[in-house]
């Protein structure tokens, strides 16, 4: 089965689409209006499952967002977030370069290896440790300092834009809270930013380091007051183990021994290269690579969290929206009502001369037991009129011999219809006097349509006195000799 609503993609990330949908929702709830379906959005199929409803709602919000300014506000927010990131990235490059240069600052062309290492990666290492501890403890608080700064800066910058409607901005902020809900998305988004900014800091440190080491000559020394030379050998071997696996040169024991408490100026160039290589290797292995690893991990988690993001369809707003979408449409007149015609009219009383009496049970429920045995014996036999043939027969016999008194019994639980009224009008031409008696067979009061019958009978020209509701009086009228 294909769902047309899924065929077209929204040019937004999943998160942005959800955020927009929540914001559009808030705007609609605020104004109390449900907007019409956007023109290019196909209607929701009744078979749509949860996922398709999600997509349909996101597309609907996108369509509405295009016109109500929220999409514009969202785009402004995103562009401001990019500006914020760029500013922070510039800051990160500057601080990375500064960190390197400060290590090499000073008039002497010699470098204490371990101090240099601490200067280059110390801050990073402490922050990474703190982050790891926080992540292990499951705390949300320390999602990443840089990331938070980025978010706050983006928030701050997004407020300043000529084309931005203040309401839209507020609604977008509230929409953000709703879109995030209990999702981990925000946490990982902040972490990704934090890690990427740190990566920029460290990468620029490395580049600056390479630049300085390429263009200037430095001697590397190890200094100690209390440590035995063997401690340095072990430390260098320990720290250099992983870099050496990656191809970085690690100084050998003679180089280490020569560097301890020596004058850097007298160092040979092979030693210098080895020390420089070790420094670069340590920077890569203990700073850049772990950051890169965390960055990649955070990215992957972000993708996962992003896929999990969705609208809460159990919310009343979405419930009502989907209900309205699935509802039906009514009320188109296809064929207008005909012009009202004047009803057929009965013959006025005493216009014809007739003889005898006649009783007619008109459309009474079978078996017809009217007017009851004793009356039937007393009076003439009752004509039962139901079928077209019976109607015709009675009409024929009356037209050959008109009667003096004609009593027609009708069931008021039925509705008077045009056919019945026309027949009554027809037979009235063959009776000197006509009475209608309204019988009620139904037990419920609501089906007593005697008022409607009276009204209908008056409309065909009968007089009030000709319409009777008391069966006994009617029968006495027929049987009376006058």
């Amino acid at each position: 089965m294909t769902f047309p609503e899924s065929s077209k993609k929204i040019p937004l990330s999943r998160f942005a689409a959800v955020w927009l949908a929540e914001s559009v929702g808030l705007l609609e709830q605020e104004s109390g209006l449900t907007s019409p379906r956007p023109a290019d959005l196909p209607p929701l199929s009744a078979q749509a499952d949860e996922a398709h409803k999600q997509i349909w709602l996101l597309r609907r919000a996108y369509g509405l967002g295009l016109h109500n300014g929220l999409l514009g506000a969202l785009e402004i927010w995103y562009s401001r977030a990019r500006v914020a990131f760029l500013l922070l990235a510039v800051l990160a490059i500057l601080s990375g370069v500064t960190a390197t240069l400060s290590v090499f600052a000073g008039p002497e062309r010699q470098l204490n290896v371990f101090w240099a290492l601490i200067g280059l990666i110390g801050v990073h290492f402490v922050s990474l440790l703190a982050w790891c501890v926080a992540a292990l403890l499951g705390s949300n608080a320390n999602a990443g300092f840089f990331g938070r700064v980025w978010y706050l800066l983006a928030q701050y910058l997004s407020r300043f834009h000529d084309g931005l409607d203040k309401t839209n901005h507020t609604i977008l902020q509230r929409g953000l809270t709703q879109a995030l809900g209990d999702s981990q998305f925000a946490k990982w988004r902040i972490r990704v930013t934090s890690h990427s900014l740190w990566l920029i800091v460290l990468s620029s440190s490395v580049i600056a380091l390479l630049l300085v080491l390429s263009l200037q000559s430095y001697g590397f020394v190890l200094e100690t007051t209390i440590l035995p030379p063997q401690a340095f050998v072990s430390a260098v071997h320990f720290l250099g183990a992983v870099p050496s696996l990656l191809g970085f040169i690690v100084p050998d024991e003679t180089m280490i021994a020569a560097a301890i408490n020596s004058e850097g100026i007298s160092q040979d160039s092979a030693s210098r290269r080895a020390w420089a290589s070790l420094l670069c290797g340590m920077l890569m292995v203990y700073a850049v690579l772990p950051r890169l690893g965390f960055y990649v991990y955070a990215r992957l988690r972000l993708v996962q969290e992003s896929a999990k993001l969705q609208l809460d369809l159990t919310k009343q707003y979405y419930g009502e929206l989907l209900c309205a979408e699935l509802a039906q449409r009514t009320g188109i007149v296809k064929d207008p009502a005909p012009v009202l015609r004047a009803p057929p009219q009965v013959q006025k009383q005493f216009k014809v001369k007739g003889a005898g009496i006649r009783l007619i049970a008109f459309e009474l429920a079978a078996p017809v037991q009217w007017p009851g045995q004793q009356w039937s014996q007393l009076l003439a036999a009752t004509d039962i009129v139901d079928t077209g043939q019976q109607r015709q027969q009675v009409l024929d016999s009356l037209s050959t011999q008109a009667v003096a008194k004609l009593l027609i019994a009708c069931d008021v639980s039925l509705s008077p219809d045009r056919g019945s009224l026309r027949w009554i009008a027809d037979v009235s031409h063959h009776a000197e006097q006509l009475r209608i008696v309204l019988l009620s067979a139904a037990s419920s009061e609501s089906r007593n349509r005697s008022d409607i019958w009276k009204e209908s009978l008056l409309s065909i020209g009968l007089e009030q006195t000709q319409v009777m509701t008391d069966e006994l009086i009617a029968l006495q009228w027929v049987s009376a000799n006058d």
Binding site: P43, D335, L414
Partner: protein, 469 residues
């Protein structure tokens, strides 16, 4: 799948005043469709009701004028029958449309016949309370000449005067064995589904479309119920969590009245949303047996008599409150317990007292400094809110859109007790989170609030299942 194909055309025909328009109101869940009255010949035109499922028109129902003089009409049509017309019965019907009769006395019937000839199926609506008469047989005889499947539909079968058996027997004699009973006022559970499946059996080629309509009916009912209990959950959280601040002790009675008004408004908002959710107007509930008039509950939420009339009995402090001013939980601010008792405020009992103890102490200190007390409604008010709205939802679910008569639902106060079980816990949680209430300002959106909503919805759905019509 026949997506995109023309909609199935269903002509709704029958004798005058048998409830054709009412049937469509019920099927379309639209109280505003056409015009309905107790009088015959109310509908004199042909009106379309299109059933869209996912924007695709699956079925088009045509409401037609009643047939009023089938006996004469059949005679005219029979007179038009010759050798050729006997081979194709619809030929005589077509010829009738060209006669003067069709433009004169029988204009209304001509509209019906024209619609029948262009339809795929006819629903022949019968008032089952009527006796089986010759004119009905003649109507069926005319329909039969239109050469489309006919599904007789017995309306008002729930009435005590219903002659359903006689009708079924008479229809069987006319070779109509597929008959559906459908009371437009009080449709039996599943009657609507049955109607569509019977139509599907008459029109094999369109079976999949009818199936989709049935699926849609289920989806809609479920979506409506979920949206309805969500409205109620919102109301309950709004009211339970809402702390109303009054500036000093002197303001408490006046503050209570303002609080009352806010909560009355919140309840009315919920009622209105429920009505519109189920496609009713305020005035549609006039005749219902729930104590409502014009879409407003007749018994005031804060009138002590309301509790009694609903059979709600609360023990202890709450009952004392019910005797004086009703149902306000005073979060002890700068006021004394004596003042609170004097104005009839009720201190919630049991676990809630313990729960709020810390908060109250905090409030007390806060109140001493700021002179602000906070009051809020007690459990008995929540009980009324929940019980009334649950019954309203049930009534709306049961109520057919054609109904102009009373429905009977007896309110049982024990349906769902706000002081017991899971619901009590959820309410207690809501009470400790004043920021969740949307009565005054935008509520604080949180996971925990969502969980409370979800829990409440579950409780309400379970309670609704217990209500018997």
């Amino acid at each position: 799948m026949t997506r995109g194909a023309a909609a199935i055309q269903v002509a709704v025909v029958g004798h005058t005043n048998t409830g054709k328009t009412s049937l469509l109101r019920t099927l379309m869940r639209d109280v505003s469709f056409g015009e309905v009255s107790a009088r015959p010949s109310t509908t004199r035109h042909v009106e379309l009701a299109r059933m869209d499922v996912g924007g695709e028109a699956l079925v088009e129902f045509y409401d037609t004028p009643g047939m009023e003089d089938s006996i004469s009409l059949l005679k005219i049509i029979s007179d038009l029958e010759d050798e050729q017309a006997r081979k194709d019965p619809s030929e005589a019907v077509r010829r009738f449309l060209d006669t003067e009769h069709a433009r004169g006395l029988f204009e209304q019937e001509a509209k019906v016949i024209r619609q029948l000839l262009s339809s795929d199926v006819a629903l022949y609506v019968i008032d089952a309370r009527d006796p089986v008469l010759a004119k009905h047989r003649d109507e069926l005889s005319i329909l039969a000449r239109c050469a489309i499947p006919i599904l007789p539909l017995l309306n008002f079968v729930a009435d005590k005067d219903s002659k359903e058996a006689q009708w079924r027997e008479a229809l069987a004699k006319l070779n109509m064995h597929a008959v559906v009973s459908f009371d437009t006022v009080a449709p039996a559970a599943g009657a609507e589904q049955l109607l569509y499946s019977k139509m599907a059996t008459l029109m094999d080629a369109h079976a999949s479309r009818f199936e989709r309509i049935q699926q849609n009916l289920d989806a809609q009912a479920k979506a409506r119920r979920e949206a309805a209990v969500d409205l109620l959950a919102r109301l309950l959280v709004d009211v339970a969590a809402y702390p109303y601040a009054v500036n000093s002790n002197d303001d408490v009675p006046e503050g209570m009245e303002r609080l009352y008004n806010k909560i009355r408004k919140a309840e009315q908002f919920c009622v209105d949303r429920l009505l519109s959710l189920y496609g009713f107007n305020r005035s549609d509930l006039l005749a219902s047996e729930l104590p409502m008039s014009d879409g407003v509950w007749e018994d005031d939420l804060f009138d002590p008599a309301t509790l009694t009339s609903m059979g709600i009995k609360f023990s202890g402090g709450a009952a004392a409150g019910a005797a004086t001013g009703l149902g306000v939980d005073l979060i002890l601010g700068g006021t004394t317990l004596g003042t609170a008792a004097a104005i009839g405020a009720v201190i919630g009992g049991g676990t809630q007292t313990l729960r709020y103890f810390g908060r109250r102490m905090g409030d007390k200190i806060g109140a001493l400094v700021t002179g602000v007390s906070r009051i809020r409604v007690g459990d008995e008010i929540l009980q009324i809110l929940v019980t009334r709205q649950l019954y309203l939802i049930k009534l709306l679910e049961l109520r057919a859109h054609a109904s102009q008569e009373k429905m009977t639902l007896t309110i049982d106060a024990q349906l769902l007790d706000v002081r017991r079980g899971e619901l009590a816990k959820l309410i207690a949680t809501a009470r400790t989170n004043p920021e969740w209430s949307s009565i005054e300002k935008e509520p604080h959106w949180s996971d925990a609030r969502q969980r409370v909503f979800a829990g409440m919805r579950q409780e309400f759905i379970a309670a609704l299942a217990q209500v018997k019509a």
